[in-house]
Amino acid sequence: MPQRTERIVVIDENPARAAVLDEGLREAGYTDVTLIDDMHGLLRRLAAIDPDVILIDLENPSRDTLEQMFQVSKTVRRPVAMFVDQSDSAMIQAAVDASVSAYIVDGLRKERIKPLMDMTISRFNAFARLEEELHSVRSELADRKVIDRAKGILMQQKSLSESDAYQLMRRSAMNNKKKLVDIAASIVTAAELLNGDGP
């Protein structure tokens, strides 16, 4: 694996995403990586680290702080520019879609930036997918809980077997063109109201 010497700073308020990117960078041979998740005193820290590349979430409010570095060259020893290569608009589009922005020391060669950007974009996208999956797993779990409760209510109040209770809800969902979980939720709500222990 090629040893890559760029000094990289990853600024992210989301430590999980920072970790995912850090891991990717190290796997790709970038060994000099610093993660920053505290936005206070950011410029002072950056001046001390003196990075070649800064990777940051496009939406991070501290980007406005970084942009000051264009203007105040005293803050950092070397000029830093936002990564904008107009010859590669596809990459810029991909970066924005993935919500990544990069600030790169002027003069760092393009062929060294591209693999770094590609990797960062793919990691950001992978992280977004992961979050989405996690979200849907969470809501699936919540759905299953509601369905189980509704099933229990039907079994108890109508003396049904578990599978009959489930079939009853499914038929009702199909007949009413509703989702199973919506039917289950209305059974739970109705039971709570009727038993007086509702919200």
Partner: protein, 404 residues
């Protein structure tokens, strides 16, 4: 219906844009707008450049900086409509405020006196003071520098200037990382309410009538969509008129207070709209004339001289070297021509200034100006040092300042 996605930053001066949507002025013009809340000016600019946004709530200096390509890729960006005048304040830690009071030869509410007081404090300090602004290309930055410069304080040598997102300024003040900041509302009032800061001066006391936020858009997009641009300007015009009417302020404050807009207490926003600000922990609210304005005195008209004043500050503070080409680009960022076209079929006929440039800061009193539609009074619009800005003589203006 035409769909537009427009970005905004949660500040009281997003009022006109939000009202255009909430009060149906945009829909009346055949526009379906989606407002997208942004957390950074840099992200706003990038999304505008890439077409994720068609228009944006922008700092008045941003279209100028983008068109000139200062600190960013050069993307011709225009401002055909001014959404707010004034509205910022210079706020300092209670400690610095007390030291300034101790050094002041009179009322700190006078920018000359507070500037001299700050100079005394700086002389007596072992560590340089740190002030935060919200963005390098902002009226906030230029206002602060103007005030410091007038007191003989060199903003690049005698103090440290940093950029900190407004959401972090109160905390940074408490932690002693900064000694003061310049921001729009609600951030100054919030810091005062938290008991960590005092407002020294408001923008209206430094320059009585200066542009603050504009609607910004890419020039190529505006050229390709002239009808949509005109419809948007008309919607914003009606919204601005609505926002400026004190009878609507309670409703406006309630709208803006919602969590998906600004998300701070309604009374605080109502005070800002009324221009009654609590300047420090002890003080009763103070009434500040023209603290913020949305429509009156042709506020929405994008004077080319405003664009040039912003450019003059970029030159003064060495963000760009002065050249005829750069001056030309800057002059064409604010677009009175597009504004005029959009006004053509509004009834009753809107007040339209006869000129497109004026000497900024020349009027000590309300003064009649050449206009069509109805009589127009401009001013007072003076800077606190009474220096007028003649847009035809940027170099002469700049050579009249001793600092920088």
């Amino acid at each position: 219906m035409t769909n537009l996605t427009i970005g905004f930053i949660p500040l009281v001066d997003c009022a006109v844009l939000v009202s255009a949507y909430e009060k149906g002025f945009a829909a009346d013009e055949g526009l379906t707008i989606t407002l997208e809340r942004e957390r950074a000016w840099a992200a706003m600019r990038d999304k505008l450049n890439l077409g994720h946004l068609q228009a944006a709530h922008m700092l008045a200096a941003m279209p100028v900086a983008a068109s000139l390509g200062i600190g960013q890729v050069q993307v011709p960006t225009i401002a055909p409509f001014v959404m707010s005048m004034n509205g910022n304040a210079i706020t300092v830690s209670n400690d610095l405020f007390a030291r300034m009071q101790g050094a002041a030869d009179g009322d700190l509410q006078d920018p000359k006196i507070s500037g001299m007081a700050l100079k005394q404090v700086i002389k007596a300090s072992s560590e340089p003071l740190t002030f935060a602004v919200v963005y390098p290309f902002s009226c906030h930055n230029y206002e602060l520098r103007y005030w410091l410069g007038a007191a003989g304080i060199n903003p690049d040598e005698d103090v440290r200037l940093v950029v900190i997102p407004p959401s972090l300024v109160a905390e940074s003040l408490s932690a002693g990382q900064i000694d003061g900041f310049v921001a729009g509302e609600p951030w100054n009032s919030l810091a005062v309410d938290k008991g960590v800061a005092s407002i020294v001066l408001t923008k209206a006391q430094l320059w009585r009538w200066g542009p603050e936020k504009v609607i910004g858009m890419r020039q190529d997009w505006a050229e390709a969509n002239p009808k949509t641009v005109a419809a948007l300007i008309k919607a914003l015009y009606h919204a601005a008129q609505w926002c400026d009417n004190p009878a609507n302020h309670a409703e406006l404050a309630a709208i803006l207070a919602q969590p998906h807009y600004i998300g701070v207490a309604e009374p605080l926003i109502a005070n800002v709209l009324a221009g009654t600000l609590r300047l420090n922990g002890a003080a009763q609210p103070t009434q500040i004339e023209n603290f913020i304005a949305f429509h009156k005195q042709a506020a929405n008209f994008p004077w080319r001289s405003q664009s040039l004043w912003l450019y003059s500050q970029m030159v003064r503070w060495k963000q760009i070297k002065h050249s005829g080409d750069a001056e030309d680009i800057a002059r064409r960022c604010f677009r009175p021509d597009i504004y005029r076209q959009a006004m053509a079929d509004i009834t009753p006929v809107p007040i339209l200034p006869g000129a497109s440039e004026k000497v900024e800061g020349a009027l000590a009193h309300a003064t009649p100006a050449g206009a069509s539609g109805a009589p127009l009074f401009l001013g007072p619009d003076t800077f606190f040092d009474n220096k007028p800005f003649d847009p035809d003589d940027v170099s002469g203006y700049l050579s009249s300042f001793s600092v920088a």
